[in-house]
Subunit: 355 residues, 2 copies
């Protein structure tokens, strides 16, 4: 486990140590835009069966790395494995996204909510992490991840898609005590889950706060950021003599970057609405930045992709570290696979030249 | 037309002239949460027929004013009347939102796009404005409105709901010349449309940029803000000896407030994710602010509504003008009508006390 990495550019950039070029990986880099992913998923039977089968999860995790010169792998999984292990009954209805059979709405059920053992019902995730880490054989680092306590709570309370988050917000305004109870359990569960991933081989940890941006600033600080701070503070900081960096990403959090940067994380993920140069001036002296090309740019021509990729690198500005290139959100399923190659190559070539 | 208003608090606050209390109106204050609205809409036959019938549009515009002590009325209409008048064939499919029969995707159709005569195919809107203004009889001011050039373009190019804006973004990256052509026509159309509303009796003008927040900062400036600046610069500034204030609202634009405040408008609308006190420190010396309670707060108990309403007023801070209270987005259809009364009364009472 302790052999040195062939390519540790990603980890070095997160810790703001000098690098030769800007490393790149992409949120949802293993996904439906890749025909080989669709093939493996078909074999698995469903998305959830794919997540729960360590051998197949390992297979799809490695697929984008076989195609592109990516600087990191990310565990193939879903943020909702944690509430599923809490007994809420995760399922996916075609075209509608995730749903829970038993959403969390009654005070009694909320009081009974318990932290799941990450090596019990979530054993399959740890097995996948270990298998991916072995398969990577020291080529690039493996990122573990989890949903933020608040984002998990959104799914747990709403139970299914609701653009307005009516149920959880009503609970926030009327019964903040119940929300705080859910968030406390979630924070403890996510901390244990990420630490188990690190113990199993994950070399960096990322928190996805997909829905924190639906809150007012005051509510964001109280119901999302405070619990991410708790998670980050509880993470294993070093493994096998090497620091394990953490990344916090709040979609729609562009106005709150200073507060996010102060939560204890090593890096802040940026969605595409933020100017990364402005973000660097605001918080670049404290954390690394990850992002932030508009995923929709990958639908355009390779020429446009190269132009827009360079624009993000140029906006970040000259530097020998502190930037991990990524999209501002996950790869769209409609992305032509060769467009991703154009992006990855443009990041490497343009950043080598500018350094 | 020139008789003085009984209550001009709203107009004075927008122009940052002293007021006795903080005025309030609500985006989508005439809507499905009101049973009397649902009744009138049933009589009209459909949402679109309601928009196109000046007598019924006037009736629903006045309904919330009969219930609540609101400080302004807003024309009941839809932002998509303009592209409808351009010949795109607006229709509403139940539960799916607006669609166009002939979305704008071919270069040839884009080249043929023309500015509609606001007193031709949009005559019904001007008739509604005049009728509402007469019916208001000087009680409170009437707000006219339009969609921003970019937001209209989103609907025109996508043709129907698409959360990712894949088509318009692909066009932005691959064919910016075509997008600029659409936006130029839209800006001219929206300017003429708002000026015709002002000529017909609207006493303030608001631009709704519902989708500008889906863009990167650079794209927002180039494809949304630049064209709103063009519209604002072309508006009638004075009518019947009184200034006609303009309000620009970009949902998700919290990171760009300084740029928005510099577009020539009198007031900037804020969604609920922005802290209004921080916004005031950033741009309050240049423009008035409108907003910004989370619409979901209206689903909570009246006690919580009063508390959250006061929190917004307190965040804005002590002042004798420059704040128009509103939600950060439209009233949800699930809002209990008496909750709106709690909000309106809390704004008036709390702001009178604090001044």
């Amino acid at each position: 486990m302790t052999r040195a990495l062939d390519n540790d550019t990603f980890l070095r950039a997160l810790l703001r140590e000098p690098v030769d070029y800007t490393p790149v990986w992409l949120m949802r880099q293993a996904g439906r835009y890749l025909p080989e992913y669709c093939e493996t998923r078909r074999r698995a039977g469903s998305f959830l069966q794919l997540c729960k089968n360590p051998a197949l999860a390992c297979e799809v995790t490695l697929q984008p790395l076989a195609r592109y010169r990516l600087d990191a792998a990310i565990l193939f999984s879903d943020i909702l494995t944690v509430p599923d292990a809490m007994g809420l009954g995760l399922y996916f209805s075609e075209g509608e996204g995730p749903r829970f059979e038993r959403p969390l709405r009654e005070e009694d059920a909320i009081r009974k909510l318990r932290v799941p053992d990450p090596c019990g019902g979530l054993r399959y995730v740890m097995d996948a992490v270990a298998e991916i880490r072995r398969a990577l054989a020291g080529s690039v680092p493996l990122i573990g991840f989890a949903g933020s306590p608040f984002t998990l709570a959104c799914y747990m309370v709403e139970g299914g898609p609701d653009g307005e988050f009516a149920r959880i917000k009503k609970m926030i305004y009327d019964r903040p005590d119940l929300i705080h109870r859910i968030l406390s359990v979630n924070a403890e569960a996510v901390t244990a889950y990420l630490n188990a991933q690190i113990d199993s081989g994950a070399q960096a940890a990322m928190l996805f706060d997909t829905w924190g941006g639906c809150l007012s600033e005051a509510a964001y600080r109280e119901f999302s950021l405070a619990y991410m701070r708790r998670v980050v503070g509880g993470l294993i900081r070093e493994k096998d003599g090497r620091r394990v960096p953490s990344i916090v990403f709040t979609k729609g959090g562009g106005a709150w970057l200073e507060a996010i940067a102060a939560c204890g994380c090593d890096a802040v993920g940026l969605d595409w609405t933020v100017d990364i140069g402005a973000a660097r001036r605001r918080i670049g002296d404290r954390v690394a930045l990850q992002g932030n090309l508009d995923p929709a740019a990958l639908l355009a021509s390779p020429e446009a992709i190269v132009r827009e990729t360079r624009a993000v690198l140029d906006a970040f500005g000259p530097s020998d570290t502190g930037h991990v290139f990524n999209l501002g959100h996950g790869v769209s399923r409609f992305t032509p696979p060769d467009h991703v190659a154009a992006l990855v190559d443009a990041v490497h070539e343009h950043s080598r030249r500018e350094k």
